[in-house]
C-alpha cells in the first residue's frame, strides 16, 4: 500500500511536471514582434548591413521563418543567435563576439581614444609654458640682420592685425 502510494505520487508529480513544462513551452505561437526582436540582432551574410528584421529578400524571409520555428520550439533568443553563428559564422551578429581575437576590435578604439586624451594633455601642458622662455633662448645670439628681420616681422604682424580688424 505504501509502495503503491509512492508510485502514484511519483507518477502524478511527474505528470504534473510534464504538463506544466509543456504549458510553459507552448503558451501561444510567437508573434511577429517576437520574431523581429531576435531578427533585429542578426544580419544575413548576403544582404550586408541590412538587419534581418527589415530585409526584404527571400533568403531573409526564410531565416525569419526559421526563427519563428525555433521560438515556437521553446528556444531562447541567445540559443537562436548561437545556432545561426554555428551555421554561418560570427558575421551574422550585429557586432563581433567578445572572445579571442575579437577583443582587439573593442580595445583598439579605446587605446586610440586614450592616446588622443594623452596628446591633448601634452598639448595643454606644453602650450601653457610661457612663450617668453623659449623666445629668450632663441633670441640670444642677436645679429644686426636678425634685429632687422625681427623689426620687419613685428611690423608685418601689426599690419596683419590691422587687416584682421578690418576683415
Amino acid at each position: 500500500m505504501k509502495k503503491l502510494f509512492s508510485i502514484l505520487l511519483f507518477v502524478t508529480l511527474f505528470a504534473a511536471a510534464w504538463t506544466s513544462k509543456a504549458a510553459a513551452q507552448d503558451p501561444q505561437p510567437p508573434s511577429d514582434d517576437d520574431v523581429n526582436r531576435v531578427a533585429r540582432q542578426l544580419f544575413c551574410p548576403v544582404c550586408e548591413n541590412t538587419p534581418l528584421d527589415v530585409c526584404p529578400t527571400e533568403a531573409c524571409r526564410q531565416w525569419r521563418a526559421l526563427i519563428r520555428e525555433k521560438l515556437a520550439a521553446g528556444w531562447s533568443d541567445e540559443q537562436i543567435k548561437q545556432y545561426f553563428v554555428e551555421q554561418y559564422g560570427a558575421r551574422v551578429l550585429s557586432e563581433p563576439p567578445r572572445q579571442g581575437w575579437y577583443w582587439a576590435f573593442y580595445l583598439i578604439p579605446v587605446v586610440l581614444l586614450l592616446l588622443g586624451v594623452y596628446i591633448l594633455y601634452r598639448a595643454f601642458t606644453s602650450m601653457r609654458q610661457p612663450l617668453s622662455e623659449s623666445a629668450q633662448v632663441e633670441a640670444a645670439p642677436e645679429s644686426p640682420a636678425a634685429v632687422e628681420t625681427q623689426g620687419q616681422q613685428d611690423y608685418l604682424r601689426r599690419v596683419e592685425e590691422e587687416l584682421k580688424k578690418r576683415n
Partner: protein
C-alpha cells in the same frame, strides 16, 4: 556620334589639366608669371569644357540613346524627364564625371578671385585642383567611360567598348530595345538634390586643402590661407551637412526601416569628412585669433581631403557591399594609390615646414577658449576614430582571418553616443568662451584662489541663471515618468545648451538696445550682423540642439510592432489605434503595379485622426519599392510599412508600424542649421573697400616674401 564628341571633350579637358599642372610647376620654379597665368587660364577652362561634356551626356540620356552603355544602364523609356537628367549621377561612370564637373566649377570659381595679394599661392592651388580633376577624368577615360558604345560582333554578340573593335559594327536602336532603367530606390525626388549636395560638399573641401598645401609649399605659414578659404570652407561644410541631412530624409522616406540613419559604411563615408571639417572650422578660429594650433589645422585639412577621396572611393569602388553600393567596379586600386600618394606628399610637406608653424600664443587656462576648442576637436576626432574603425575593421578581419565580421548600429551607438553627449554639453558652454579670459578674470578677481578654481567659480556664476530652466526641464521630464538615464541626460543637456545660447543672445541684444537706444529686435538683428560668425555659429548650435532632440526621440523612444491583419482588424501602438480598412491594386501611369492599403488612425479617446496609405510599387523590371504611410506631427511620427516581402493577400496583410517621437525636430533643426550657416557665411559689404589700403601696405613685403 554625340558620344564620341563627349569622350573627346573629356580627353581634351584631361590633357588641359595636365598642361595646367606642368605650366604651374614651370611658372613656380622658373619664376615666370606668364606660365602661372597660362596655368590659371587652363584651369579656368576646365569648367566650360566639362559643362560641355556633362551636357552631352545629359543630351544622350534625355534622347534615350540606348546605343550608349551608360544610358542603357540607367534609363528606360518610361522614366520622367527629371529622372533622366538626374540619372547622370545614377551610375558609376556618370557620377565620376559629375564629380569632376562640380570640382571644375569650384576650381574655375577660384581662378576668378582677385589674386593680387596671394600670387605665390596661385600655382599650387592650380596644381592641387588640376591633379584632383585629372585623377577623376583619368578614371573616366581609362576605366569607366560614360560614352562607351555598344557594338555588335560578327557572331552577333553585343558588347560595350569605347572604340570600334575590329569586325564589329555599331549597334542599332532596334537591336537594343529599352534600357534597364534606374534602380527603384533612386527614383525619388531626393535624387535631384541629395547626391549633388553631397558631391558639392566633397569637392568644395578641395579648395581649402589646395590653399593649405600652397601655404606649405611656399612657406607662407601665417594664417593667410585660412582667411582666404574661410568662406569656401563654410560653404563646403554647408553642402556636406545638407547632403547628409537630405540623405537621412530620403532614407526615412523610401527605405522603409523606420529610421533615417543606419550606420551603413557608405553613410559613414560621407560623415567622416564632415567630422574633420567641423573640427577644422572650429580650430581655425584659434589660429586666426591667437596664432595657435597651426600644425593641427594643417593635419585636419589634409585628413579632410583624404577622407573626401576615401568617401568617394568607398561609394564608388564597391569595396564594401552595402545598401548604397549600387555601383561596383574595378577602379578601387587607382583610388587607393591616389589617396596614399596625396596623403604621403601632404604629410611630408607638413613635416618639412613643421618648425616654421610654431605657435605664437600660449594657453591661458583649462577653461580658456583654446582649451574648450581643443576639447571639441578631441571629441570630433574620437567620433572619427569610432567611425573609421567601424568601417575598416570588417575589411581588416577579412584580410587577416578570411572571416568577415559585421559592425552594426550597437557598436556605433555605444561608442559614439557618449561622445555626442559630451559635444552637446561643450556646445552649451561654448558661448562662455566668447567672453575671453579677461572677463572671466575680472569676475574671479576678488578671490585669491588658484587660477583654475577662480575660473571654475566664475563659470559657475555665469552659468547658474541659464541652468535653472535646464533643471526645471529635468524635473519635468522626471515627473512625466521618463526614467531612462541616457534620455534624461540627453534632453537636459539639450535644454541647458538652448538656454545658455538664448541667454547669451538676450544679454548681448539687451546690452546693445540699452546702449544704442534701439528696439530689442533691431538690436538683435544688428548684433548678429556685426559678428556674423559668432552669432551664426550660435544659431547653428541651436539647430544642432533641435536635431539632437529629434535624434534622442527616435533613438531612445522608438516603438514598433508588426502584425498580419485582415480588413477590419485593429492594431495598437503607443496610444494610437490603427484600423485596416481596405487594400487596392491598380496600375500607375508609368507602368508600375501599385498595391495600396488604407488604414484609419484613432487617438486614445477613439477620435479619428486621419488615414494612412502605405503602399508598394512593382516596377516593370519586377523590382519592388516600399513606400511608408506617415502621419507627421511635432510630437511624433506614425510610420506604417506594408510588409510586402512577407506576402500580401486579401485575407491577411502584414503591417509594420513604427512610433517615432520627436523625429520632426530633426528636420526642423536642419533648417535652423542652414540659416545659421548662411548668417555666418554671408559676404560682408564693406569687404571690397579694404584691398586698396591693404595692397599699399602689403606691397613693401611682396618681393622677398
Amino acid at each position: 556620334m554625340f558620344a564620341d564628341f563627349g569622350f573627346g571633350v573629356l580627353v581634351i579637358t584631361f590633357l588641359l589639366s595636365l598642361y595646367g599642372i606642368s605650366a604651374a610647376l614651370i611658372g613656380h620654379f622658373k619664376k615666370k608669371q606668364a606660365w602661372v597665368e597660362s596655368a590659371r587660364l587652363s584651369m579656368l577652362l576646365t569648367f566650360p569644357l566639362l559643362t560641355l561634356g556633362a551636357l552631352t551626356l545629359i543630351y544622350l540620356l534625355v534622347t534615350n540613346d540606348f546605343t550608349v552603355k551608360f544610358v542603357y544602364d540607367v534609363i528606360s523609356f518610361d522614366m520622367p524627364l527629371y529622372l533622366k537628367i538626374t540619372a547622370l549621377w545614377g551610375g558609376q561612370s556618370g557620377s565620376l564625371l559629375f564629380w569632376s564637373w562640380l570640382m571644375a566649377a569650384f576650381a574655375t570659381a577660384v581662378t576668378l578671385r582677385k589674386w593680387d595679394r596671394d600670387r605665390e599661392f596661385l600655382p599650387w592651388v592650380v596644381i592641387v585642383s588640376c591633379v584632383t580633376i585629372a585623377f577623376f577624368l583619368g578614371l573616366n577615360i581609362f576605366f569607366e567611360n560614360p560614352f562607351a558604345h555598344f557594338w555588335v560582333s560578327v557572331s552577333g554578340e553585343i558588347f560595350p567598348a569605347t572604340f570600334q573593335p575590329a569586325n564589329a559594327r555599331l549597334v542599332t536602336l532596334d537591336e537594343i530595345g529599352n534600357g534597364t532603367g534606374l534602380n527603384p530606390l533612386l527614383r525619388h525626388p531626393g535624387m535631384i538634390i541629395h547626391p549633388p549636395m553631397l558631391y558639392l560638399g566633397f569637392v568644395a573641401f578641395v579648395i581649402p586643402f589646395a590653399f593649405a598645401l600652397a601655404a606649405l609649399v611656399t612657406g607662407r605659414t601665417d594664417d593667410r590661407w585660412i582667411r582666404l578659404t574661410r568662406r569656401w570652407t563654410l560653404i563646403a561644410w554647408l553642402f556636406l551637412s545638407l547632403g547628409l541631412v537630405l540623405g537621412g530624409r530620403w532614407a526615412y522616406d523610401v527605405l522603409g526601416w523606420g529610421g533615417y540613419w543606419g550606420w551603413d559604411p557608405v553613410e559613414i563615408a560621407a560623415f567622416m569628412p564632415w567630422l574633420t571639417g567641423t573640427a577644422f572650422l572650429h580650430s581655425v578660429m584659434i589660429q586666426e585669433k591667437r596664432g595657435m594650433l597651426k600644425h593641427w589645422n594643417m593635419i585636419l585639412i589634409i585628413l579632410t581631403y583624404a577622407l573626401v577621396i576615401f568617401g568617394t572611393f568607398l561609394t564608388r569602388s564597391g569595396v564594401l557591399s552595402s545598401v548604397h553600393a549600387f555601383a561596383q567596379s574595378a577602379i578601387g586600386p587607382s583610388f587607393f594609390i591616389f589617396i596614399g600618394v596625396t596623403f604621403v606628399i601632404s604629410v611630408a610637406l607638413l613635416i618639412y615646414r613643421w618648425a616654421e608653424l610654431k605657435s605664437e600664443g600660449q594657453m591661458q587656462s583649462m577653461f580658456s577658449r583654446e582649451a574648450l576648442f581643443l576639447l571639441n576637436n578631441l571629441l570630433f576626432m574620437g567620433i572619427l576614430v569610432v567611425c573609421f574603425w567601424g568601417v575598416i575593421s570588417p575589411l581588416i578581419s577579412e584580410l587577416l582571418t578570411n572571416q568577415k565580421v559585421t559592425v552594426g548600429p550597437p557598436y556605433y551607438e555605444r561608442a559614439a553616443g557618449p561622445l555626442f553627449g559630451a559635444l552637446l554639453l561643450l556646445m552649451g558652454i561654448a558661448p562662455l568662451s566668447a567672453w575671453g579670459h579677461t572677463t572671466l578674470k575680472n569676475l574671479a578677481a576678488q578671490s585669491n584662489l588658484q587660477l583654475e578654481k577662480r575660473y571654475a567659480l566664475a563659470i559657475a556664476r555665469l552659468l547658474w541663471k541659464p541652468a535653472v530652466p535646464a533643471l526645471l526641464v529635468l524635473i519635468g521630464l522626471f515627473a512625466s515618468g521618463i526614467r531612462d538615464i541616457y534620455a534624461l541626460i540627453g534632453l537636459t543637456l539639450a535644454a541647458l545648451t538652448t538656454s545658455i545660447t538664448a541667454y547669451e543672445f538676450w544679454r548681448a541684444a539687451r546690452a546693445r538696445s540699452r546702449a544704442q537706444q534701439e528696439n530689442f529686435f533691431v538690436a538683435l538683428w544688428r548684433l548678429a550682423g556685426r559678428n556674423r560668425r559668432r552669432y551664426g555659429g550660435y544659431t547653428i548650435h541651436l539647430g544642432v540642439v533641435l536635431m539632437a532632440l529629434g535624434i534622442i526621440g527616435i533613438e531612445m523612444f522608438q516603438t514598433q510592432t508588426q502584425k498580419s491583419m485582415a480588413v477590419g482588424e485593429n492594431i495598437q501602438i503607443s496610444g494610437y489605434t490603427l484600423r485596416y480598412d481596405s487594400l487596392a491594386q491598380f496600375p500607375s501611369e508609368d507602368g508600375r503595379q501599385v498595391t495600396r492599403a488604407v488604414l484609419s488612425v484613432f487617438d486614445k479617446n477613439g477620435a479619428l485622426l486621419g488615414e494612412l496609405h502605405p503602399r508598394y510599387d512593382v516596377y516593370p523590371s519586377g523590382e519592388p519599392m516600399t513606400i511608408p504611410g506617415v502621419r507627421s506631427t511635432l510630437a511624433d511620427d506614425l510610420y506604417v510599412v506594408l510588409v510586402n516581402w512577407e506576402g500580401v493577400s486579401e485575407q491577411t496583410t502584414p503591417f509594420k508600424i513604427y512610433h517615432n517621437p520627436l523625429v520632426n525636430w530633426l528636420w526642423l533643426g536642419a533648417f535652423v542649421f542652414i540659416f545659421g550657416t548662411l548668417i555666418a557665411a554671408w559676404p560682408d559689404e564693406e569687404r571690397e573697400t579694404i584691398p586698396a589700403q591693404a595692397r599699399s601696405t602689403q606691397a613693401a613685403f611682396q618681393p622677398g616674401d
